[in-house]
């Protein structure tokens, strides 16, 4: 290992510095006027993102207040039953999908580059695309309640209620709208993961990564594996609603419990996806106010990773009352208790840090402390409900309502508020008001406990959840009234926080730089910040560079580190290696564009038209979206640089173009395909689930899809895969004609393979509406064919790129990523064939 270079020993002359900053400012200039909305810069998009999530928090909060008014007294008629059911469905869904998860991604998108000393995350346009999808989907969903068309099946959407017993488009809005938003969430997760792995500053080895980054890395990785089961489940449920394929209908051999498994395979990790990034904020705040490095860094990382893994093994504790055997109850009770241990470790690390340091009183610490008080109680009731026999009583009562709000408000909302007060100066250079912050805290803290503490008792006295009213005299009346009063006090506190954030601050002077005397990289930012993120990208050799690296601010400011200039007027940042953050590439980043907005609008059209069963406009919208995305890729990605290398300062020369596993794009493809594969495996899980619960699955004799066509399909598709892999090699060796014919042959084989795959169930006349077996075969085959179709488009795209001279033997990002895509697709095809043609032989 080489010795890390230090900063320049002498500052560049002043006029050089001035010229450098001018060029940097020019390269990173934000668009103005109406073009402002074409911005893709992480700090701008991050801000929109955070603002929208707070808007949705407000919306969900108002719904909660309406519900509390309805429940203030027995037999109330303030809200109708139907409206109440819409309100609680939308409240839960909005808080989960439009506030809790997006705000983590929003905060990460906004601050990750600063924390990493990078200029920008590697895929700014992807972030912008994700934001627009989120905005569109969120407004569509929330708006539906004003037309009495909102989903009303609960945020958990259990069929058959949602498949056969609720007419109207509410359920479709939920299924399609949230699938759309989940795509945005996965896009952001890809961005965050690669940001954390590849855009760290030189020298920030894996043991020096700020804790916040560790946490969001774990949470984003969890999104990759948690969201796809829900997307797969939503696909099944929507197909059942629209085309009557009986996945969840016992009359057609289906089983409603499959949905519950897929939903909670998502739903339980989701809780930790919300919780971890919020604790991450605490992990930044606590050391700052203890004025010392965190105690137990390794423990915390271990605990966060441990929670990430454990959280995928707990989902069944949401299903304890569905009639499970005792062994499952015992195992999942124990697993659910086990997760308390890593959680406890983190809390004790924070306590140890406070004990070891001289703690400074501050508003962020006040919220952090409130969070601890609330969250620990919620965690302890969680330990209680995880014990199956207690769960039989508490499940689906207000006890659980109390528990989950203690966990989510204590474990997520309060840390986020702490984060608001802590990080706000980074947004516009000004602090929030200490006075308002304290008033708001005491209102919110008191109101919260007044509202939710009594609910434990309400639940234990027998009040079920999700009831629009209750009868008088059952012991619920007074408790509910108290809860309603508490809810309004909590709302008053939150209203003050909102006011504090949006109130005009023209007259308020800028905060001093690094106002809390923090040690982490993001506080190098000037007040107010500059669009370039970092004046020069530093060499890091400690966890708290502002505390531990002498003259750090001066060296950054005077451009004594890397990339202090933008000679070519282009936006650039440094990519480093995953483990030890060796500089690998100078990455050129794209600038403002409206393409992302158009891509999101057309993609949204696909889902929104689909909601109204307008299949043709929906399909057209999808095609338009595909065309726009291809245009976006064609004009904006894998651009061949004007020179091979660039001097980034301190005597370091970095290539401007890398392909394969060293490039960010390859990682993005890999990570995205992991998510796609997980969704596919969720569908396969469905197949085997039916096999375990249904004696007639697969039916005997098996009606299809036979063996001939699936086997032909497997052979053809393996051929298509081999051709693609060979084409990558031929391109590398610059055998143009072999590349073209190989890839063309590959795409023909792929099309033939897809057709053969469809031919199996087609010629054996499997009718997907008749029974769950043909439906499952068809869904696997359709999924795989769709993936093949995209693969064909990619193959043709690579041919076109080479013809147009946008891809060459050396500059071959496109074909390498497409070959990677085809590894996954070939695997998917083989599994599909093995399952649909092979498994019936064994079963």
């Amino acid at each position: 290992m080489s010795i890390d270079p230090g900063p320049l020993t002498a500052a560049p002359p002043e006029e050089v510095q001035r010229a450098q900053t001018e060029r940097l400012l020019e390269a990173w200039k934000q668009p103005t006027g109406w073009r402002y909305w074409s911005a893709v810069n992480n700090s701008v998009v991050g801000l929109w993102y955070v603002a929208m999530t707070f808007f949705f928090l407000l919306f969900g909060g108002v719904l909660a207040l309406l519900m509390r008014l309805q429940l203030a007294r027995p037999n109330n008629d303030f809200l109708s039953a139907d409206l109440y059911n819409q309100a609680f469905t939308v409240h839960g869904s909005v808080m989960m999908f439009l506030f809790a998860i997006p705000i983590f991604e929003a905060i990460a998108v906004m601050f990750l580059p600063q924390m990493l000393g990078a200029r920008e995350l590697p895929f700014p346009r992807l972030s912008a695309f994700g934001f627009w999808c989120f905005l569109l989907g969120g407004i569509f969903l929330c708006g539906s309640i004003f037309f009495d068309a909102a989903p009303r099946g609960g945020w958990f959407m259990y069929p058959p209620l949602t498949s056969k017993y609720q007419s109207g488009i509410g359920a479709d809005i939920w299924l399609l709208g949230f699938s759309f938003i989940e795509i945005a969430a996965i896009a952001a997760a890809v961005e965050i993961i690669i940001g954390a792995l590849k855009t760290r500053p030189p020298g920030m080895r894996i043991n020096l990564i700020p804790l916040y980054i560790w946490y969001v890395l774990v949470a984003a990785a969890m999104i990759l594996f948690a969201f796809p089961p829900l997307i797969a489940g939503s696909l099944l449920l929507e197909v059942e609603r629209a085309f009557h394929w009986p996945f969840f209908d016992p009359a057609g051999g289906g089983d409603p419990l499959l949905w519950q498994h897929l939903f909670w395979l998502f739903g339980h990790p989701e809780v930790y996806i919300i919780f971890l990034p919020s604790v991450a904020l605490m992990a930044m705040i606590v050391p700052t106010f203890a004025q010392r490095p965190i105690v137990g860094y390794g423990w915390i990382v271990l605990a966060a990773v441990g929670i990430g893994f454990l959280s995928f093994g707990l989902w069944v504790h949401h299903m304890f009352t569905t009639g499970l055997p005792g062994i499952s109850l015992g195992l999942f009770s124990a697993a659910s208790e086990a997760v308390a241990i890593p959680t406890g470790v983190q809390i004790f690390c924070f306590i140890a840090t406070l004990a070891a340091g001289r703690t400074v009183r501050s508003v962020p610490m006040l919220y952090a402390f409130g969070s601890l008080v609330i969250f620990v109680l919620g965690g302890l009731t969680g330990v209680m409900v995880a014990v199956a026999p207690f769960n039989f009583q508490a499940h689906d009562t207000f006890f659980v309502v109390a528990h989950l709000h203690y966990v989510l408000i204590g474990g997520a909302l309060f840390p986020i508020l702490a984060g608001c007060y802590y990080f706000f100066p980074l947004i516009n250079g000004k602090k929030l008001s200490d006075k308002l912050g304290k008033i708001a805290f005491w209102l919110a803290f008191t109101g919260f406990n007044v509202a939710f503490l009594p609910m434990h008792l309400t639940g234990l006295r027998g009040m079920p959840r999700r009831v629009f009213t209750y009868q008088a005299g059952l012991g619920f009346d007074a408790l509910n009234l108290v809860s309603t009063v508490g809810a309004f006090i909590l709302a008053a506190g939150l209203a003050i926080v909102f006011w504090d954030m949006v109130r005009p601050k023209k007259k308020q002077s800028y905060s001093e730089r690094n106002p809390w005397n923090a040690g982490t990289l993001e506080w190098t930012q000037e007040m107010p910040g500059k669009p370039w993120g970092m004046r020069s990208i530093p060499e890091i050799d400690s966890r708290y560079p502002l505390w531990e690296q002498p003259n750090f601010l001066r060296d950054v400011d005077e451009g004594r580190f890397y990339l202090a200039d933008a000679e070519e007027g282009k936006r650039e940042s440094i990519l480093t290696s995953v483990i030890d953050a060796r500089p690998e590439q100078c990455l050129r980043l794209p600038g403002p564009t409206f393409i992302t907005l158009w891509a999101a609008l057309t993609m949204g059209g696909f889902f929104i038209f689909g909601t109204f069963s307008l299949w043709w406009p929906s399909l057209l919208s999808l095609l338009a979206s595909l065309a726009i995305i291809i245009y976006w890729l064609w004009t904006g990605t894998a651009l061949i640089p004007e020179k091979a290398e660039k001097d980034v300062g301190l005597g370091l020369k970095l290539p401007l173009y890398l392909s394969g596993p060293e490039s960010a794009g390859w990682w993005a493809m890999f990570i995205t395909m992991l998510a796609v594969l997980t969704a596919f495996i969720s569908l396969v899980f469905g197949y085997f689930f039916f096999w375990t619960v249904r004696a007639d699955f697969p039916p005997d004799p098996v009606p299809g899809p036979g063996h001939f066509w699936p086997l032909v399909a497997a052979l053809l598709l393996l051929g298509a895969w081999a051709q693609t892999v060979l084409a990558r090699r031929w391109n590398r060796n610059d055998h143009a004609s072999a590349f073209y014919t190989g890839l063309l042959l590959g795409s023909i084989l792929a099309i033939a393979g897809g057709a053969a795959l469809l031919a199996g169930p087609w010629v054996t006349q499997l009718d997907p509406t008749s029974h769950v077996y043909p439906a499952t075969v068809w869904i696997l085959v359709t999924w795989t064919t769709f993936q093949i179709l995209i693969g064909v488009i990619m193959q043709l795209y690579c041919i076109a790129r080479r013809v147009a001279g946008r891809m060459t033997a050396r500059y071959d990002i496109d074909i390498r990523n497409v070959a990677l895509y085809w590894h996954f697709t070939a695997f998917t095809a083989v599994v599909t064939v093995a399952v649909i043609a092979g498994f019936p032989l064994v079963a």
């Binding site: 039953a81 139907d82 059911n85 058959p160 209620l161 017993y165 609720q166 289906g254 409603p256 419990l257 010392r292 105690v295 137990g296 423990w299 605990a303 009352t321 569905t322 009639g323 015992g330 009770s333 124990a334 308390a340 241990i341 406890g344 470790v345 983190q346 809390i347 004790f348 690390c349 306590i351 140890a352 840090t353 406070l354 004990a355 070891a356 001289r358 703690t359 601890l372 620990v376 109680l377 009731t381 330990v383 209680m384 014990v387 199956a388 026999p389 207690f390 039989f392 009583q393 499940h395 689906d396 009562t397 006295r461 027998g462 079920p464 959840r465 999700r466 009831v467 629009f468 009213t469």
Partner: protein, 286 residues
């Protein structure tokens, strides 16, 4: 369990406050590691293991089937009421709705199912809840130990009027239970007063029998609740209205208001006198 949770909660908060106030240097690095390892890992592991042993021990007993020959009751959750069937040994099972009687001290096995959406059968005072899932049959065994009237409710969100899906359980002495079961098995009493007779005529003339059965009359519908002895029940409308003629009038005339989304159409268009006669007739079916 609650006591233990409160103690742990107070301990953690106290520790945090102490840490907040502590002066630096009073805790060495090794100290901190002991704290993290002890407080975060070792103590929770011991407490949780003990809790699991204590908490999971009752599971086998809770899940054990009722002994051979126990009373068997099939309960079907339907939007938004409960169909109850006593599976007695003789040919005629006793069918009723929204009410269950149990003999005290005797084990009973409930067979729980649903023809429409997922419901959850829950009598808080007698036992835990068990879901009723279309296409599946779940079982719940319990032995009531106390005489009294207990309320049960649907615990799984099941649509518009999920909140209005309750029932009553009366636990009584074996002798009283047997008498009750005998009465439930009998056919309905013929109406005795002119008003009740008019009510019965109206019931049959207006097609109520297409959905409701009153054994001993031509009404033999199976879609809705069996009304043979509806007047003997503790409530009407699945635990939401008192068993009084006035409540019957409200239910018949404004069904959609009493229970939003209900399948039964409101019969408010009938002459008022007819509705009142119906109410008297039904309330008299004891």
């Amino acid at each position: 369990m609650t006591g233990g949770a409160i103690v742990i909660w107070i301990a953690v908060i106290a520790l945090a406050i102490h840490a907040f106030r502590a002066r630096p240097g009073s805790h060495s690095g090794r100290h901190a590691n002991y704290l993290i390892l002890g407080g975060g890992a070792i103590v929770p592991t011991i407490v949780l293991t003990a809790l699991l042993i204590y908490g999971l021990a009752p599971i086998p007993a809770l899940l054990a089937p009722a002994p051979e020959g126990s009373l068997k009751i099939a309960v079907s959750g339907e939007q938004w009421w409960w169909r109850v069937r006593y599976e007695t040994s003789d040919a005629d099972a006793v069918v009723l709705a929204n009410e269950i009687h149990l003999p005290v001290g005797e084990p009973v096995e409930f067979r729980l199912e649903s023809p429409d959406v997922i419901h959850s059968f829950w009598i808080p005072a007698l036992g835990g809840k068990v879901d009723m899932i279309p296409g599946r049959v779940n079982r719940l065994s319990l032995t009531p130990t106390k005489i009294g009237v207990f309320r049960g409710a649907c615990a799984e969100y099941c649509g518009t009027s999920h909140a209005l899906m309750s029932f009553y359980v009366r636990v009584e002495e074996k002798a009283a239970f047997d008498r009750w079961l005998m009465r439930q098995r009998a056919t309905a009493l013929p109406p005795s007063t002119p008003l009740a007779k008019r009510g019965q005529a109206s019931f049959l003339a207006n097609g109520c029998g297409a959905c409701h059965a009153i054994r001993g009359t031509p009404a033999d519908g199976v879609v809705g609740p069996d009304l043979t002895h509806v007047g003997s029940r503790l409530s009407i409308g699945a635990g939401i209205l008192p068993n009084k003629p006035k409540a019957f009038v409200h239910w018949i005339a404004r069904t959609d208001q009493a229970k939003p989304g209900v399948l039964m159409p409101a019969f408010g268009m009938l002459p008022k006198a007819d509705i009142e006669a119906l109410a008297v007739y039904l309330e008299g079916l004891r």
